[in-house]
Symmetry: C2
């Protein structure tokens, strides 16, 4: 046997051994161990197999396998308040000393005094003032550091754990499973894009360039010889409701193959993703039904935001996850 033939046979044998090993590992490993063996898990696996098997009539090439995930309530806890709002309220306390004129002004006074009723009374306008006072007026690098520092120390009031540990283990597994099947996973959130980017790669395995969110305007400046982007107190884009398909088109330029949400803020994203005809698409809604392990809410609760999308789910073929029944586990250990 020539040296070349020997090497070539070795390669074949080695490849065969590796293939056998890979097949047996795959057969033994459940890609979604935190999902109960109920309908949603079966639907996810059936969809992924349908679009990834080469000989399937609904096969989709890898570059077109785009999956979009809402963040708040879909990938991590959004109760009792959005994490970004908890961040903003903490930041009010941090920035007021440098701006004493805010101390006696609403809604800042309400935040400093913990007067949630007065805060609520300040409405959307008050909220926007808080967001601008805490999210603008610094460079993008400075804001990134502020977010990174806060997220590494802040704790959720009920679970007493960092917010980045209050992500849903079944959704982490789902993202890993999709990526292992050639999907590119994106976040498409109403939350601030620069509030998410500092930690999404570490927590979800989603790099900054695959995070889409709401944003304020930034301005390029040369500060002495150093280029900076300065964050201005002005809305650039709201990535919520009908803004989600707009954001998806703007950032990705392709229609996703699968969309995952939990509220009416995700309705248009689910419609845009799933109602376009061939190839097959997948839509899923996380329904918060587990007051014991997490929270239970939809239409009529104080935080009710899942209404129309839930009604439209059966007609549109969207999978609805009953958190209590379908998830074996909620958070990572």
């Amino acid at each position: 046997m020539s040296a070349l033939a020997y090497v070539s046979r070795c390669i074949s044998l080695a490849a065969a051994a590796l293939l056998l090993f890979a097949v047996s590992v795959l057969a033994q490993t459940d890609p979604l161990p935190s999902w109960n063996d109920t309908a949603p898990k079966a639907a996810i696996i059936a969809f992924v197999e349908k679009v990834t098997k080469e000989n399937s009539p609904e096969f989709v090439p890898e570059p077109e396998r785009i999956a979009v995930f809402d963040n708040d309530g879909t990938l991590w806890v959004e109760h009792p308040i959005y994490t970004q709002l908890a961040f903003a309220l903490d930041r009010v306390k941090a920035v007021v000393p440098a701006h004493p004129e805010l101390k006696d002004k609403q809604p800042f006074k309400a935040v400093l005094e913990g007067d949630m009723k007065a805060l609520a009374a300040s409405g959307e306008k008050g909220l926007m003032e808080i967001m601008m006072a805490t999210h603008a007026g610094m460079t993008t690098d400075e804001f990134q550091k502020i977010v990174s520092d806060w997220i590494s120390t802040a704790r959720h009031p009920r679970f007493k754990r960092p917010y980045t540990e209050l992500v849903y283990q079944p959704m982490l597994e789902l993202q890993t499973y999709l990526r292992a099947n050639g999907f590119k996973t994106y976040i498409v959130s109403g939350g601030g894009i620069e509030f998410m980017r500092p930690w999404t790669e570490r927590v979800y395995g989603i790099p900054p360039e695959q995070v889409i969110g709401s944003s304020i305007k930034t301005e390029f400046r040369m500060s002495a010889d150093t280029p900076i982007l300065y964050r201005l107190p002005e809305i650039n884009f709201i990535d919520d409701k009908a803004g989600k398909p707009v954001g998806i088109n703007q950032y990705i330029g392709r229609r996703p193959l699968a969309a995952f949400g939990n509220s009416d803020g995700d309705l248009e994203m689910l419609q845009w993703t799933t109602l376009a005809g061939a190839p097959a698409r997948f839509g899923l809604i996380v329904h918060h039904t587990d007051a014991e392990r997490e929270y239970a809410y939809d239409r009529d609760t104080e935080f009710g935001r899942l209404d129309k999308a839930l009604d439209l789910a059966p007609m549109n073929g969207w999978t609805v996850v009953d958190m209590k029944a379908d998830w074996r586990k909620i958070f990572p250990d």
Copy 2:
């Protein structure tokens, strides 16, 4: 020898053989054959080796290897007019029959009559009217089809070839070389994002989600049961000059490692990319010096747009490509 030991030895031998083969192929193959062996080629290769060699003090992990390319004049011909303007002028002729009220109105009359002097006299305002009349008022899917159809049939007036063949072979090789070294390549163009996305993957190997450009606003609508994005006659974002760093931050959320441009429209992108301190960065300007094979222009020509960036290049360490001297070949065969 046990079966396992045998397989394991085979894998090692096969791996060694493959490695030897790969090394010898690499040593024999010039990754940039259309570049002359002048300073720019050496600078590119030295930079890539510096940031990709594991033991280099300036090693950069793969996810952070982002390279941004201007399009017009950097990746393809921009003379005698921007390709997108040629598209818009052709589209005026296509849309006027359905809008006869435009026929006798400037700047449309000038376009229909080929009166370039009257067209120029209509200025920025006239140009914007032409862009909106030809780029808005349809769905994103419809616009994509219009662009795809046009780009497959239109021909450049001087070279009589499709515009997508008038891309610079040295830059195609550069993009391939960067990608082979773990870089993610992006387009960051003042041109329309939806004008580029239909063909960048085929022509440059750059997928839609890695194209950043100027855009008009879109609106999500349910048209009967079908979701659409409708293109509105309103500017959303101008991805030029100081807008380029803003666009890069908005879409990518990381500072690039390398930037490639050809005009003052790329100045701020070059500054943002290269003047931020460690790790090492790379900036390059394509200087059009070859009237015979392509065009020669910079400051003082009718199309002069390369002025301040050229002056700042030496101080900032930007590599300037002298197209005539540094490029062996301009276009693909």
